[in-house]
Amino acid sequence: MIPRPVSRDPAPQPSVPSVLLLATLITGVLALAGRQMGAQDYAAHPGGAPRDGATVYAAHCAECHGASGKGDGPASFLLSPHPRDFSIGSYKIRTTETGSVPTDEDLLRSIRRGLHGTAMPGWESLLPDTEIRNVVEHVKSYSPSFAGTRPQIVTVGADVVSSPASVARGFAVYERLQCGACHGADGRGSGAVATEFEDDWGQPMRAADLTEPWTFRGGATARDVFMRFRTGMSGTPMPSFKDSATDAEMWDLANYVLSLARKPVWAMNADEVAAHYAREEAEANAHPIERGRHLVDSMGCALCHSPLDDSRRVLPGMKLAGGMRIRVEPFGDYVTGNLTSDVETGLGGWTDEEIVRVMTQGILRDGTRLLPYPMDWPSFSTLASDDLRAIIAYLRTVPPVSNRIPPPRRPLLPIYLWGKFRMLILGADLPMTFHAGNAGTPVAHADAAAPQGGR
């Protein structure tokens, strides 16, 4: 029942407790509505009330960063760089001293603009600013680091405008601080001691290519680049140079780094584009394993060739180990192959020719023919032979995981014919069903499972 105001008398002023009661009721109703929308609700609500941080997070962040903020969302196993783990409270892109938490403004900026060269998009044009602010508070709540500490903001003087003299001084700083040990003498890894590292979360990462400023995570103004030297990038091997260089030197270094920028392909003329692609091809041919890894990562092999749980998360340690069961009606059950280098159950025992054959003709080792879907071998048949070789070279380096994959299973003949009848004659639209769980079986080795005692 909704109480109606008495029209004749002036409406009685609500007492303080009833205002509180009303507020509580409204809050409760809103909270319930929010819960009902839940994780399924992925839309911003134009014109509606801004959603709270947890709701926005569930709808737009959890896919990568995970429901618990540990950077372990369903999509995370495919992403490079790996999504940020919020539970530690350590951030790369900051304007604060080493060891300090970032400012709200730092987090807002990363969310609004996105992080270039990663899957993190800019949300500025997608979500109302209130919701972005709400989600910042929510993200901070995942780590105890933010409680009771204030960010120590670094003080930065005026910009040092780039000039040939500043760039020349910056080059000397680059040499002195040995930036080339990770970034190479040319800024793109040439002659580097190492370019691949593991960050504090145990995730693989690469030294930045300094010739591609459009991939700089925290932006590519001299001030942005200066800030990375000044604060360091927490959780990575990139330290703060606060104690080894002066502010003026770091400004020169920033100007030098930005002077390394090459032209992006969208700004090149025809000759430059041709030279650029020729160089990329030469690099791919010189490093086939790298090229193969890029192709396997970007073509989506692991999407089907990894078993997922009910919430679409990969089973631990099973990336590329196959085992996802796909029922293709009316043709039967197909379980995705184990692409790891395991000799017994993976590709380890396959010859290069056999792998090429299944990738381009859909024929398994024993001669079994695959359907032209969901394994898209008709499309993969258009891969250049160099790329096919690179993919195989990379797959041979994937650590072995034992997971024996059952052969395709066709239904009994009458059931198969009935399914075909429904499909071809009755025009039924029969589905392809992707199942959760692992339909493969790890092989117990004699040494791992030695019989206990005798008979």
Partner: protein, 205 residues
């Protein structure tokens, strides 16, 4: 005489039944026709880039064409014609409907049609879907339905090349129903269910 006819009729009936079963068994000829029947058309299906006047753009589009062709975009974004996927209407979409916990989506029309295709979207909007799986209305698509988490491995320059190529696809008018995020399929043990038996788009010309 009648007896003979009866027997002949019965034999014919049995033969017809066997022929019908054989037809059901073998059609479509996935396991009968040589693999080239399915793979050979794939190399010729993507529209060529020869007609692009600017040589730099042509070279970039050629790169995009290779990535689009080898990444299996046509695995979902095909258009079903009367005889199965219509390769001539390259990437006109509507060939696949996916039901998942994220709702129901139909593969989009990626051609340059101004009203039903990608011409409605800016380069940044297209790149954001390819890189982050986020639509212009802020909705996210599951990484299992549209492999954006994989495509995020493309360099920004390769992503640019893909978009340049898609911009040059001949327009096909083919309206695709919008995603229905409310129709969540929740079934324990099932990730997704995909249907490809008909054309889920409308108004194709």
């Amino acid at each position: 005489m009648r007896r003979v006819l009866k027997w002949a009729g019965a034999i014919l009936l049995v033969l017809a039944l066997i022929a019908f079963c054989a037809f059901l068994y073998l059609i479509p000829p996935f396991f009968v026709a040589p693999p080239e029947t399915f793979s050979a058309p794939m190399a010729g299906a993507p529209p060529p880039v020869d007609g692009i006047p600017d040589p730099a753009e042509r070279a970039i589009a050629a790169r995009g064409r290779y990535i689009v062709m080898t990444s299996g975009c046509m695995g979902c974004h095909f258009m079903n014609g009367a005889q199965g996927p219509d390769l001539a209407k390259y990437l006109a979409g509507g060939g696949l409907r996916i039901e998942s916990a994220h709702g129901t989506i139909v593969s989009r029309n990626l051609t340059s049609d101004p009203e039903t295709g990608l011409a409605r979207r800016t380069d940044d909007e297209v790149k954001r879907v390819l890189r982050s799986g986020v639509f212009p209305d802020a909705h996210m698509v599951s990484y299992t339905s549209m492999p954006w988490a994989n495509f995020s491995h493309w360099s920004e320059e390769d992503r640019h090349a893909v978009v340049v190529y898609l911009r040059h696809l001949p327009p096909v008018r083919h309206a695709i129903p919008d995603p229905d995020h409310s129709a969540a399929m929740v079934e324990p043990g099932v990730l997704e269910r995909a249907y490809a038996g008909k054309n889920y788009g409308t108004d194709d010309r």
